[in-house]
């Protein structure tokens, strides 16, 4: 699986891409694979304030429900409406079309301190 080099990753299996001060957040290919067939995605409304590490929603598969944590803090700008009607997209395209939320980041250093694509893949490899 391709883990984009320009993204940053967390040990909780989220990814973040940054354009200006807008971060796009999703869950990784590995995360969706672990969860299995996804049936519900719950996301916050625009305007919500998140601190790094806050639980901001959940992803529910046939088997189980998992919380998702904010990899960076800031204000929620947008939640991906595609996932309300088609949660299964998260299994198909987790790194692109099935992003979860966009955040206006308050501290860009939080992004820089996350794992690189290589480090994340090493971490996932060691975990399994």
């Amino acid at each position: 699986m391709n883990y984009p080099e320009s993204y940053r990753y967390t040990k909780e299996h989220e990814w973040v891409s940054l354009a200006g001060d807008t971060a796009t957040v999703g869950i990784t290919f590995h995360a969706q694979e672990e969860l299995g067939d996804i049936v519900y995605v719950d996301l916050p409304k625009p305007g919500a304030q998140l601190a790094k590490g806050d639980s901001f929603g959940s992803v529910e598969s046939v088997k189980a429900v998992s919380d998702i944590y904010a990899p960076v803090g800031g204000e929620v700008l947008e939640a991906n409406e595609l996932l309300t009607s088609s949660p299964e997209k998260l299994n198909e395209d987790p790194h692109e079309a099935a992003w979860l939320i966009k955040i206006r980041v308050s501290d860009p250093n939080e992004f820089n301190n996350l794992l690189s694509a290589a480090d994340y893949q090493t971490y996932v490899g060691a975990e399994s």
Binding site: E34, G36, Y40, S58, S61, V62, K63, A64, V65
Partner: protein, 367 residues
């Protein structure tokens, strides 16, 4: 505290080669899914799937009083069984709660073969041995002698028939026979835990991998797929089959679990009978009930059930039902509420979500 290494079935390598996702299932390293839970579930409903259930345990009771002992430790009527017939039954404590739910197979008048849950097998064996002293028979912990493969789905018969000269169509539901299967001696039972037609085949562990491959090959035209425990769980839930530790357990009686049909009070003395008689006389306080979510959410195992905001019970199993395209579950409710059409709420992550009790089983296969 040290962690014991996970136990492996003889098919562990095969699962890994097939790309299964493995999980710790009650101390066993088992495949939870291969291609995907929903895909595997639908394959069993529409074609045929193959499961490794070798983690299940086997206990054999043999001797002149084998039938008497088996009858004494189980709730169903062993005397009604004919040679080659199997029955679903309960192993109870004196207080009427479940030690385990089991399948009793009558091999001969003096020989019974009992299939038990993986995580309960040692406890079951101790329980039976503990009372066997008064009976002239031997009780053997036989799990090491068997691997078990489940071939399940509407195309299970045509798949399995290719591997044996025994006419399988002649084996009725909940009957079994011993014969050659894929070139090895096997016990072939028309049983399962999916709600579909199918067979559970018991073979020696050292040939299990060869038998698995032969079944996969024979099932190719029918579109067979290996299936994991994830699909096994959604399949059994749609068919309202109980899972130990969820619908049943040490603090739950068969009457509460809506399994009164496996309790034969008129057969005479058996462990747990007195407690069940008392419970019946006093009246049940709670009963297992099916529900469907009406609001958005899934009622999961252990979630609280409320009625009008007041605590009423708990969810024993809950999941999206792939065949029905609804979110279903089983829960314990006060007896007076344990009937279809009741408005209830499931507390999903601190939020009460509307649900309604419904008739069960949720799914019944077309006859």
């Amino acid at each position: 505290m040290t962690t014991a290494p996970l136990k492996r079935t003889p098919l562990n390598e095969v699962h890994r080669a097939f790309g299964a996702k493995m999980v710790d299932f009650g101390g066993w390293d088992m495949p939870v899914q291969y291609t995907g839970l929903i895909d595997e579930h639908n394959t069993v409903r529409n074609a045929v799937g193959l499961f490794d259930v070798s983690h299940m345990g086997e206990i054999e009771i043999r001797g002149p009083e084998a039938a008497k002992l088996t009858d004494f430790v189980t709730t169903n009527a062993v005397s009604k069984l004919k040679h080659g017939q199997a029955q679903y039954s309960g192993l109870l404590y004196e207080h009427g709660g479940f030690v385990d739910d089991i399948l009793v197979h009558k091999v001969a008048d003096d020989s019974f073969f009992i299939c038990v849950n993986a995580s309960n097998q040692e406890k079951d064996f101790e329980h039976i041995v503990g009372v066997s002293g008064d009976f002239e028979c031997e009780v053997e912990f036989a799990s090491g002698k068997y691997a078990q493969l489940a071939i399940q789905g509407p195309k299970a018969l045509e798949t399995a028939q290719q591997l044996t000269e025994t006419p399988l169509a002649g084996i009725r539901y909940y009957w079994f026979t011993d014969g050659m299967f894929a070139g090895v001696p096997a016990r072939i039972a028309r049983t399962g835990y999916t709600g579909e037609d199918g067979f559970e085949v018991y073979v020696a562990p050292d040939v299990a991998a060869d038998v698995w491959k032969a079944i996969m090959e024979a099932g190719k035209p029918a579109g067979i797929k290996p299936c994991g425990l994830g699909a096994r769980n959604t399949l059994r839930l749609e068919s309202k089959m109980a899972l130990y530790g969820h619908e049943i357990g040490a603090s739950i009686s068969p009457l509460e679990a809506d399994l009164g049909w496996i309790v034969k009070f008129d057969k005479g003395e058996f462990i747990g009978r007195d407690a069940l008689v008392k419970q019946k006389q006093a009246g049940l306080k709670r009963k297992l009930t099916g529900f469907e979510m009406r609001g958005r959410g899934i009622g999961r195992d252990g979630y609280e059930v409320t009625i009008g905001g007041q605590p009423a019970g708990w969810v024993t199993s809950g999941s999206p039902a792939p065949t029905l395209n609804r979110n279903i579950g089983l829960c314990y409710l006060p007896l007076e509420r344990a009937k279809p059409g009741e408005k209830i709420e499931i507390v999903v992550r601190n939020q009460a979500v509307e649900a309604e009790t419904v008739p069960t089983p949720f799914y019944k296969r077309p006859q």
